[in-house]
Every structure is written in C-alpha cells, then in structure tokens.
Chain length 147, copies 2
DNA sequence: GCTTGACCCTATAGTTACTACAGGGTGCAT
DNA sequence: ATGCACCCTGTAGTAACTATAGGGTCAAGC
C-alpha cells in the first residue's frame, strides 16, 4: 500500500503521515525498489488509532502514551483511563474558560452602537475600562434602549 | 519608564513586550543613552489595550485591526463591531465543538473497566470501532450495570 | 521511444504567540 | 572592584502540522 492510498483510506494528508513517522508514532514501513513507502494493514490500523485519538483532541504526546499502553497487553487499563480522564478534565476546563470569555464578549458587543470610533464603546472598553465596567455600561445602554 | 516597569505595570513579560514591538503592535520607544527602551504613558495605554484584547481571545491579527481602527477617529464603529462579532461567532463554534468532543470523551470513559489493556474498551474503541459504536457499547454497559 | 501527468522522495521553512536561552553591556550598592 | 539586577540583540524552541523547492518514478498514450 502506497502512502497516497493510506492517506486516502484514513483521511490523512500524505505530509502528515510522513510527519507521524518522523515523530515516531508510525513505524517506518518497508520500501519498494523505487524507495516508495510500502505500508501493511498494521500501519493502517495504527494510523486510524492515531486519527481517532486526535479527533478526540488528544495531543500527540498523549497519543504516544496511549499507543505505548496499547502495545503492552499486560498494561493495566487504569493507566489508559488516567490519560483519558485527564484529557476530559482539560477539555471541560477549556469549555468553562471559553464560556466565560463568550459572556464577556457578549457584554462587549451589547455596547455597540452606530457612531464612529471616536465614541465607540467597544474600543473605549478595550482601551481604558476594566472588564467589570462593561457591565455597568451595558446596563446603562439597556436602560436607554440603545441596543 | 523602563521595559521591566512597563512589564510589571501591565502584567506582561519583558520578552513579550519586545515581541509586540517586533510585530509592529507597539511602536518603538525612545532609547536612553544606555540604549534602554524608554516608554511613555501612551505605550502603557496601548499595551493595556493589547492585553485586554488578548485576554478576550482576539488573535494578534485582530488586535492589529482593532488598533488600526481605534487609531482613526473617523472610522466607523461598524468595522470594530464586525471584528468582535466574528470573534464571538468563532468562540461559540469552538465551545460547540468542544462540547461535542466532551460528550464523546465521556462516552469513551464510561467504557472503562478494571481489566488489562488486552480487553480495555477505551483502547479497543480507539483502535477499531467508529465513534458511533461507542454509544452502543456504553448503553450495553449501562444495561449490565457496569459503570 | 518519448512525453505528460500523477505520484513519490528528502529537506527545509512557514504558521501562532510567545518563551527561553546565549552572550554581552549598564547601573547602582557594598 | 565586584556583585547583582536589569537591559540589549539574535536565535532557537514549542505543537502539530502545512507548504514549498527540487528532484526521481511509473504507467498511459502518441
């Protein structure tokens, strides 16, 4: 199986496959006489594992760990569980961070009017007030119906 | 005002300030005889603007746009609004993506048992099933009370 | 037999937003 | 005079690719 075929089969770019090989995630395959990479089914399976893990947001470092754990049948499942749990926690933290950020952005945007930058509240919020002040501004806006 | 003082005043690292200057976000300040950077109040204000924008998740590219818009008093506030709205949309999309991802990760983790990797469901889910199958596995698990 | 196009190869640089040296100079206090 | 904290430039490293340059290979069609 040539690299282009493997790429198509797994939905990965050719360069990415070579990158995974260089990073030690995918073992170097045999080569044809023309020095083309010649992949086996095992490579396809391993690459699918990598892709699925990446789709779930695991870093390559974590994928490496998961692969190492998966390679050793005697390894406890707990270690796998730990990697995945840590990742889930990180994702949840990220969601919380982004949600707080979204709320602040929403407040910022409620300040938007139709004037010029000279009295643009978004700009002045970014320029001189701290973020807590935006709330006061926006409630003022709501009171005056300017929305 | 020396760079270290500006750094402390804004909660920015010295290297980051120099990086902003090199990136054209912060104008080069005057220099002392010793070739030290000598900042004015205007630099502090501009840097605070950059920091607040970055805290809200704007890319440096967007910050550059916002600064350009803010510099021109005649510019319409609409342009500012557009930049901020686009960012808000991107943040909301990211939250949605991460939420879907979190749900899939949760499903994956519900599969975790206490065996060895040989029959570790997390590994096998990553290895061979597509993600839709995890749901079936997990509902099966829920049925058997294994959670 | 020769060309054309699709594919393959290596090696290197670019992306984002910093961070971290290495190797050197400055200013002030002891 | 010497130590220390601070400043300078320039370069390399981070994550996970992506893109380019400059070249080789293979099968099909004329």
């Amino acid at each position: 199986m040539k690299i282009g075929e493997l790429a198509k089969a797994t939905g990965t770019k050719v360069e990415t496959i070579r990158y995974y090989e260089a990073s030690g995630l995918l073992p170097p395959p045999a080569r044809t006489q023309a020095n083309y990479r010649d992949y086996e089914l095992s490579h396809l399976e391993r690459l699918m594992f990598i892709r699925r893990s990446r789709d779930l947001g695991f870093t390559l470092k974590s994928v490496r760990e998961l692969l190492t754990l998966a390679d050793d049948d005697d390894e406890s499942c707990d270690a796998v569980d730990e990697v995945a749990s840590a990742h889930l926690l990180a994702v949840e933290q990220k969601i919380a961070d982004l949600t707080a950020l979204r709320d602040q952005l929403s407040l910022l945007l409620q300040c938007s009017g139709d004037g010029t930058v000279g009295d643009c509240r978004i700009i002045s919020s970014l320029a001189s007030t701290n973020l807590a002040n935006i709330r006061n501004q926006s409630s003022h806006i709501r009171e005056t119906g300017n929305q």
